[in-house]
């Protein structure tokens, strides 16, 4: 940072990503509230702790190997030429993963240019991606509440948060990812990269995990296990909306020179380094939220849980192309995505006896899949990248991309991991514990203490009355 303009650019980007991390923290606060509100009293603490402990587990594993995967896997490896990409800035033992002034490198692995460029950006960029990882794991967490063992869930959370989603990000979000190069895959705000994959992964687990006791009548008719605290659920979803602002902004690069060849033109870009503006994504975010809410209100007949969820699903459905859509297009795409996800949720529930406790597969998985696919029609022929040699956006490229996200990297690993965990009896809690509630042990101790205190107070009242 030897001149003022370069310093300003780098420190601005550092501060920009730092702010997105703070905002995205709210997504997790929202998920915690949402899940606890959706669970029954007898499972509250377990539900909260399950979602809380994924934070440290995904954080440390994303530090150990998740970040490296993003930079090492854009070629597959082995899907296109090039194999594993050398990624010294992202290995957990690399000097640039620690506090660094950007001056003289301590090892010969780096040049002075590497350290000057990465020292201030690497940590905040890692953290922004980490918050995406938490989101992916948290989406899964909601679907499986009230009957999954924590042991199994934590392994599954590390799988989606630090392995599978970041492979898909390397393939379909990295500016040189093979899906962007060869399929023209475009998913600017992660309809597929975060949401479809997490929804698919959750669905794969649910097939193995099975429904909660009593969810289906003996003839297979689904029963509604309503949220026990609708206020907490809806406030949680409001917080997820709020955190989503950080999510959107973190998917951008704030300020780089986007002019190819001679000349200089500074702009924000999407994740593929193609120009966009903060204004564009701000308006489209709000219009897709509105399209989702309006349609959700209609299809669910004003049900608060589904209307709020539809706001989220609307954003997710439009996210793949929200850097380029007209705001009214974003609104209609969101509304259409909500109809698709709502109908599919009940179809899959009835047909396959899938108990998705919070509608996570629908809101994230189906709306995300739809969002990726529909972008292929609206953005047909658009460049997927500033690199003119990359394939343009097409409906078939987007469809294959959506299948990879939801099915290949989502459903399949979720189903296989759940099968293995089930084989080791690490997936489903004992039937008696499910009936008694996951908090039964802790509650029993609490009730015993409370009863002892009440007894002590009664005895104190007796003594006080005797002394009068």
């Amino acid at each position: 940072m030897d001149n003022e303009l370069a310093a300003l650019g780098i420190i601005f980007a550092e501060f920009y990503y730092w702010l997105t991390v703070v905002l995205m923290f709210l997504i997790h606060v929202g998920f915690c509230m949402y899940e606890v509100g959706a669970s029954r009293h007898k499972n509250h603490m377990h539900t909260l702790m399950k979602n809380t402990m994924l934070i440290p587990l995904v954080t440390i594993t994303f530090f150990f190997f998740g970040w490296w995967i993003y930079f090492a896997f854009p070629n597959g490896p082995g899907i296109i030429e090039g194999g594993l990409v050398d990624a010294p800035t992202a290995v957990a033992w690399g000097e640039l993963m620690g506090p660094h002034m950007g001056g003289k490198p301590a090892t010969e692995v780096f040049t002075a240019d590497d350290t000057a460029g990465w020292a201030r950006i690497n940590g905040v960029f890692w953290a922004a991606f980490l918050l995406f990882s938490w989101t992916a794991a948290s989406i899964v967490s909601g679907a499986v509440i009230e009957r999954i063992k924590s042991t199994g869930f934590y392994i599954l959370a590390v799988g989606i948060g630090s392995v599978w989603w970041i492979i898909d990000a390397s393939w379909g979000w990295h500016s040189a990812g093979w899906m962007v190069q060869k399929l023209g895959y475009h998913d600017a705000y992660a309809s597929g990269v975060i949401h479809a994959i997490a929804g698919g992964y959750a669905l794969g687990i649910l097939f193995v995990l099975g429904p909660r006791i009593g969810k289906f009548a003996p003839d297979g008719t689904p029963r509604n296990i309503s949220p026990r605290n609708p206020w907490l659920v809806t406030l949680g979803l409001f917080l997820i909306y709020t955190g989503f602002w950080g999510f959107y902004v973190a998917c951008n690069v704030p300020m780089i020179d986007v002019q190819a060849g001679d000349g200089v033109f500074f702009s924000a870009t999407n994740i593929y380094l193609a120009p966009t503006t903060l204004s564009a994504i701000t308006v489209n975010f709000l219009m897709s939220l509105s399209g989702g809410l309006l349609m959700g209100f209609i299809v669910s007949k004003g049900d608060a849980f589904w209307t709020y969820s539809s706001g989220l699903a609307g954003i997710i459905a439009a996210s793949a192309g929200n850097d380029l859509y007209h705001p009214i297009q974003a609104m209609f795409i969101a509304a259409a995505g909500v109809v698709v996800m709502y109908k599919l949720h009940y179809f899959v529930e009835r047909t396959f006896k899938i108990d998705d406790a919070v509608g996570a597969v629908a809101v994230h998985g189906y709306a995300g899949f739809f969002g990726v696919f529909i972008a292929g029609f609206f953005l047909w022929g658009y460049p997927s990248s500033p690199d003119a040699s990359f394939h343009v956006i097409t409906p078939w490229g987007q469809f294959i991309g959506a299948v990879i996200m939801f099915g290949v990297l989502g459903f399949l690993p979720g189903w296989v991991t759940a099968k293995v965990l089930n084989g080791f009896d690490m997936l489903r809690i004992p039937r008696e514990v499910e009936l008694a509630g996951l908090d039964v042990g802790a509650n029993a101790e609490r009730y015993a203490d409370e009863q002892a205190i009440i007894d002590a107070e009664r005895s104190a009242v007796g003594r006080a009355a005797g002394s009068d």
Partner: protein, 77 residues
């Protein structure tokens, strides 16, 4: 003596690279980190298995379960 790669900020800042102590031992910290992570899973898993076994013994009877289910009844919010 300093555990870091620099002893003051008086020189040229562009000469300063890593700020953390014990530069060169990163791989060791990484391995310790992996061990800590795996250890946590093992402890958590054993504890959870033990807890469920105890809870099934203690609360798994029909009377006890019916009492708990009654408390969750929609008529008893």
């Amino acid at each position: 003596m300093s555990t870091g790669n620099f002893e003051n900020f008086a020189g040229t800042i562009t000469e300063i690279g890593p700020l953390y102590p014990f530069v060169g031992t990163e791989m060791l910290w990484f391995i310790l980190g992996l061990v800590f992570w795996i250890w946590w899973h093992v402890v958590q898993s054993k504890r959870e298995t033990r807890e469920y076994e105890e809870e099934v013994k203690r609360f798994g009877g029909a009377e006890s379960l019916n009492k708990i289910i009654d408390k969750e009844s929609p008529e008893n919010p």
